[in-house]
Amino acid sequence: MNAGDLVALELQELYRRGKTRTDQGLLKIDYRAEAAQAPFCFDIVNGKLHRNGCDAIPAASRDALYFVWEPGAGLRAAACRKCRPAALKTGAMSRDTTSDIIYGFLSIMDQFGSVLRQRGQEYRNSPRGRRLARDFNQLVSALDQTQREALNVTLTSLDGLVKIVGEVDTGLARQAKAGNGHRTKGRPAKPSTGRNGKEKV
C-alpha cells in the first residue's frame, strides 16, 4: 500500500472511531457559500455567461450554473446580450492565501500530529525511505555551489517552519490541558509503542 493511500485511509479510520473533532472539517469541496459572491455565472446548458443574478437565466438551467470569477477568453463569445457581462478588475474568489495554507497545515498537525509522526518514523526506517535518503545525498553531492546554497536556504526555511509548528503544537496542547484536562486532540496521553506499527488512537 502506498503512503498516500495509507494516510487517506487512516484519516477516515480516525473519524470512524470517533477520534476526530466533528466540528472540524478535513476538506470542503462545497462551494455554495463562496458562489454567492461571484460576479458571473455560466449557464453550461445554453453556453451563456451572465452577470450573477441576471433575470435572463432560464429557470431550467438553475442546476447547471457554474459561478465564475474570471471568464477568460470565452467571455465575448458566450456573453448574455441582456446583462452584457464585462471583465472586472476585481480579484478572483477568495482562495488559499499563504496564511490560509499555514493555518491549514497547523490544523492538520494539530488534529493528526500523532498519525503524521508515526508515518514519518515508519517511512524513515523503511527500505523506500532509506533509498530516498541515499538518492537525496547523491543528488546533493552532484550540485554546484550556487545550487547548494539555494537548497540550504529552502531547507532552513522548512526547518524553521517545522520548529514553529512544533512550538505552536506544544503551546496548544498545554493550553488545552490547562483548560479542562480532556482535550487530547486525537492523541493518546502518552506515546504508545509496540502495537504492530499502529498508533493507539
Binding site: K28, A60, Y66
Partner: protein, 307 residues
C-alpha cells in the same frame, strides 16, 4: 436522404474501434492493482462486476481522449490513468446509487454529502474502500479547490441526490402533469451526466475555454439519454422512472435528441481529430444501445457486459 455532415467516416469508425480495443487493455492494466489491493473479491469468480467496471472505464477513457484532443493537448499516460480511475470511481459511486435499493442509495448520499462538506467518509465495505481510494487518487491529481472543478464535483453530487430523491418520491412525481414530470426527469438526466463529463474534462484539461464546456456538457447529457434507453427494461422492472422510459415513443425521440446534439457539437467545436472521435463514439454508442433495448425487449433483461 442526404447524409449529414457529421456522419463519421469509415476510417474514423475503424480508428475508434482499434482505440477501444487498445484502451480496454491499458485501462485493465491501470485498474487491476488498485482493485486487487482494496476490493479483491471483485477479481474472483466470473468477474462480471469487474468486467462491467472496466468496460465503463474504457468508454470514459475514449471520451477523455476525445475531449483532450479537442482542447489541443496530448493524451499521455497520466491522462489515461486519470480517465481510467475516473471511470472506476463513477462505476462504483453509481452502483451505490442504482444497484442495492433505495435505502442504500439514500444512506450513501448522506455519507457522500459529509465527504464533500467536511471531508469525512465512513467506509463500510471493500467496494466502498475501493471507491474512496479512486476518489482520493483523483483528488491528488488536480487542485480540487479549483473554482470550476469543485463546482463540477458538487454539481454531479446534487444531481445524483435529486435523482435519488425523485426516485424515492415517485408517488409525488405521479401527481404532476405529464409535461412537468417529463421536464423534471429530462433535466435530472441532463445534469447527472452533463456534470460528470464536465468533471472528467476538468480533471484532464483544467484550462478548457468556457465556450467548449457547454458542447461537452451536451455530449454528456446525450450519453445519459442513450444509456437510459438501453437500460429501459431494467429500470422499468425496478420501478425506476427515467425520461426515456416515460416517453410513449422513445425511439424517434432519442433519434431527434441524438441528431440535434451531434449537429450542435459538429458545428460548435473546431474541426479536429477529437471532435470527430467524440461524434464517432456517440454514434457507435447510440446504435449499440438501440440494439440493447431491442434485445432486452425480446429476451428479457440480464446483467451482462455490453461492449
Amino acid at each position: 436522404m442526404r447524409t449529414p455532415a457529421w456522419q463519421p467516416s469509415e476510417t474514423t469508425l475503424n480508428t475508434l474501434d482499434s482505440l477501444v480495443r487498445e484502451y480496454r487493455g491499458r485501462v485493465e492494466e491501470n485498474l487491476t492493482p488498485l482493485i486487487r489491493d482494496y476490493y479483491p473479491a471483485m477479481l474472483a469468480g466470473d468477474r462480471l462486476e469487474c468486467r462491467k467496471l472496466l468496460e465503463l472505464s474504457s468508454k470514459m477513457t475514449i471520451v477523455g481522449l476525445a475531449c483532450t484532443l479537442i482542447a489541443g493537448y496530448p493524451f499521455d499516460d497520466r491522462r489515461l490513468e486519470i480517465s481510467s480511475i475516473f471511470g472506476a470511481c463513477c462505476f462504483l459511486g453509481d452502483s451505490s446509487l442504482d444497484d442495492f435499493g433505495d435505502q442504500t442509495a439514500r444512506d450513501y448520499i448522506a455519507r457522500y454529502e459529509l465527504l464533500l462538506t467536511k471531508g469525512w467518509f465512513e467506509i463500510r465495505n471493500d467496494r466502498e474502500k475501493l471507491f474512496y481510494m479512486t476518489l482520493t487518487r483523483l483528488f491528488a491529481e488536480r487542485d480540487v479547490l479549483d473554482v470550476m472543478l469543485r463546482q463540477a464535483i458538487l454539481g454531479l453530487f446534487l444531481s445524483q441526490k435529486k435523482d435519488v430523491e425523485m426516485r424515492s418520491g415517485a408517488s409525488s412525481l405521479r401527481t404532476l402533469p405529464q409535461r412537468s414530470r417529463l421536464r423534471l426527469l429530462r433535466e435530472c438526466a441532463r445534469d447527472r451526466s452533463g456534470h460528470a463529463i464536465t468533471l472528467l474534462n476538468l480533471f484532464l484539461v483544467p484550462s478548457l475555454s468556457l465556450e467548449y464546456h457547454n458542447l461537452v456538457y451536451a455530449a454528456g447529457s446525450l450519453i445519459m439519454h442513450i444509456d437510459d434507453h438501453g437500460d429501459c427494461h431494467f429500470d422499468r422492472s425496478h420501478n425506476r422512472w427515467t425520461y426515456m422510459n416515460q416517453l410513449k415513443d422513445p425511439v424517434p425521440a432519442l433519434r431527434r435528441i441524438f441528431s440535434s446534439t451531434v449537429e450542435r457539437i459538429y458545428r460548435g467545436l473546431p474541426e479536429s481529430e477529437g471532435r470527430d472521435l467524440l461524434i464517432a463514439f456517440l454514434y457507435r454508442y447510440y446504435l449499440t444501445r438501440l440494439r440493447k433495448h431491442r434485445l432486452e425487449r425480446g429476451r428479457g433483461i440480464s446483467w451482462t457486459v455490453y461492449e
